[in-house]
């Protein structure tokens, strides 16, 4: 194995996301950005494979509508060797098919690779479609929901979890593997690693650098609205002189709700 490509999304940090309570609109423009958690697991797994067999290169590829250099520096500090950023403000409206298409064209231009690692889904849109779409566009074998991965000569062997079973699946490389968060704990880069990473390269491409037909970028999905859900909970505080009194009041309320009763 010579080269691993890791697909990284610059995602909205959903834990920091604010909502305009009057309009229920999400304030995504001002929200912090970070590497989508699941993709970080994919990168960590690539670094682990490299540690077992040192002569591997790790390239990351990011499709983004806004500059992502800050978060890509983190990927390089963790251990990626080179980062590719495909930047185009038109990507703002891109859907999962368009994203996979741009990734596929960028990966074709990069050329040789043995393994593509992706996160199972993204932190913000949580669709989980891009890696499957990429596999289809590149006609590659795909193994998803992977919690364990290893490489044996020219094949990848992965453990994927299903609803009620665990499959061990083998595929000839090149192949795509998408990982779940349970696969590993991504490392936090040390100051040394951060310093070293500043010499590494971030290559920026636009759609003009790739063999992209603009027609293929149009979203197949129309967004009607994206709004914070209404909370319709009662928000009643149960208080009592003693904890016993509060507990009894709570039980009374639950009986009245009809969710607790005599069996």
């Amino acid at each position: 194995m010579k080269r691993i490509i890791v697909c990284l999304k610059q995602a909205v940090d959903v834990s920091q996301l604010k909502v305009d309570t009057a309009t229920r609109q999400l304030l995504t423009a001002s929200a912090l950005r970070k590497i989508s958690d699941f993709d970080k697991n994919a990168l960590e797994e690539a670094i682990k494979l490299k540690e077992k067999q040192s002569n591997i290169e790790i390239f990351t590829v990011t499709v983004t509508a806004e500059d992502a250099k800050t978060v890509l520096r983190e990927a390089l500090a963790m251990g990626a060797d080179k980062a590719y950023m495909i930047l185009d403000s038109n990507f703002k409206e891109i859907d999962t098919l368009g994203t996979a298409y741009v990734l596929a064209e960028a990966i074709r231009k990069i050329g040789e690779y043995d393994l593509i690692l992706c996160g199972e889904t993204s932190l913000d849109s949580f669709s989980g479609l891009v890696s499957s779409r990429l596999a289809e566009l590149l006609s590659l074998p795909h193994i998803n929901y992977v919690r364990k991965v290893s490489v044996e000569s020219n094949a990848v062997i992965a453990e994927r979890t299903l609803e009620d079973s665990v499959e061990t699946v083998k595929a000839k490389m090149p192949a795509i593997v998408s990982v779940t968060r349970e696969i590993n704990q991504p490392r936090i880069p040390s100051l040394m690693m951060i310093m070293k990473a500043s010499k590494k390269e971030i290559i920026t491409w636009t759609t003009a650098d790739l063999n992209i037909q603009q027609d293929n970028l149009g979203s197949k999905i129309e967004v009607i609205e994206v709004l914070a859900p209404k909370t319709e909970r009662k928000k009643i505080r149960i208080k009592g002189e003693t904890v016993q009194e509060a507990a009894e009041k709570l039980v009374k309320a639950l009986v009245e709700e009809g969710v607790v009763g005599r069996r």
């Binding site: 909205v12 959903v14 834990s15 996301l17 909502v19 999400l26 999962t96 098919l97 932190l123 913000d124 849109s125 949580f126 669709s127 989980g128 479609l129 499957s132 779409r133 590659l140 074998p141 795909h142 193994i143 929901y145 994927r160 979890t161 299903l162 609803e163 009620d164 665990v166 499959e167 061990t168 699946v169 595929a171 979203s219 197949k220 999905i221 129309e222 967004v223 009607i224 994206v226 709004l227 914070a228 859900p229 909970r233 009662k234 928000k235 009643i236 505080r237 149960i238 208080k239 904890v243 016993q244 509060a246 507990a247 709570l250 039980v251 639950l254 009986v255 709700e257 969710v259 005599r262």
Partner: protein, 321 residues
Amino acid sequence: MSQHNGVCVYSDKHDLTLEILGKGREIADKLQTELAAVLIGYNVQQRADEMIKNGADKVYIADNQALQNFKFESYLSILHTIAVNYKPEIFLIGSTRNGKPLAARLATRLGTGCVPDCNRLSVDEQRRLISERITYGGNAAAKLTFKTKPQIATVPARAFEKPQPKERNGQLIKLDVKVEEAKTEIVDVKPLETASVRIEDAEIIISCGRGLEKKEDKALLDELASVLCGQVGCSRPLAEDRKWFSEWVGLSGHKVKPKLYIACGISGVIQHVAGIRDAKVIVAINKDEQAPIFEVADYGVVGNLYEVLPALKEALKKQLQ
């Protein structure tokens, strides 16, 4: 107008197919079109009858030994053939761990859109499928529709109710498809190591979060669960970071629908809340009165779970005696 017509349902899980057929029937009736189900496997013909009773007008059957187990490319080639030959305007596909990637690849092969994990589906006057899903880590619900056909949506388990089966007539259509070879090989299958009762099916769930100090203290929740005939769950940190549980409740774990959910020592981050949105009644017990869980609970008790839970257990015992 587009020549696409009809609604087509597929899941690799038979029960989920039946659930989706209920919704599919409603949509097909509104569109005044046909509802089809896809049946793939080996010796599975007897399921066709149940699909018809649950609302299908037609069942496409691909039944042969090579299809006994789910294989991506093989199953994909069958759905793709149906899409090309019969041109349904809508595909509803079960959002399982095999079904969702299958839907994504079908949509890619057809150059069309796909909306995953829809918890609501309807159609508008222009025959467009309107789908709703949770996004931004539970911060938002997105309402989306399609610009191209077929429109492909995936549907998670328990999003829709299984219909009441009725005696009705339906047509069986045997497919003769040149099945594509799978690009991956399954070398081993073993059962997933999980709790014996599925938490998604629990009526009452008592769940703990980082407020639980030691693994052994789970006993407090177990005792309450036994009084209520409920099940114990947890939030993500207790499973993923502390490894005290193998599964968790939340957007990335299990989405649950109990009649009562008691959150003990759970702060209530949005990802957790997204997993309990469909609970009928939510109770929060937390010593931090500022904890966001109180904003999404019906009843809140500010207090230490180590004091509140034993008191609650005693009060319940008194009530249920």
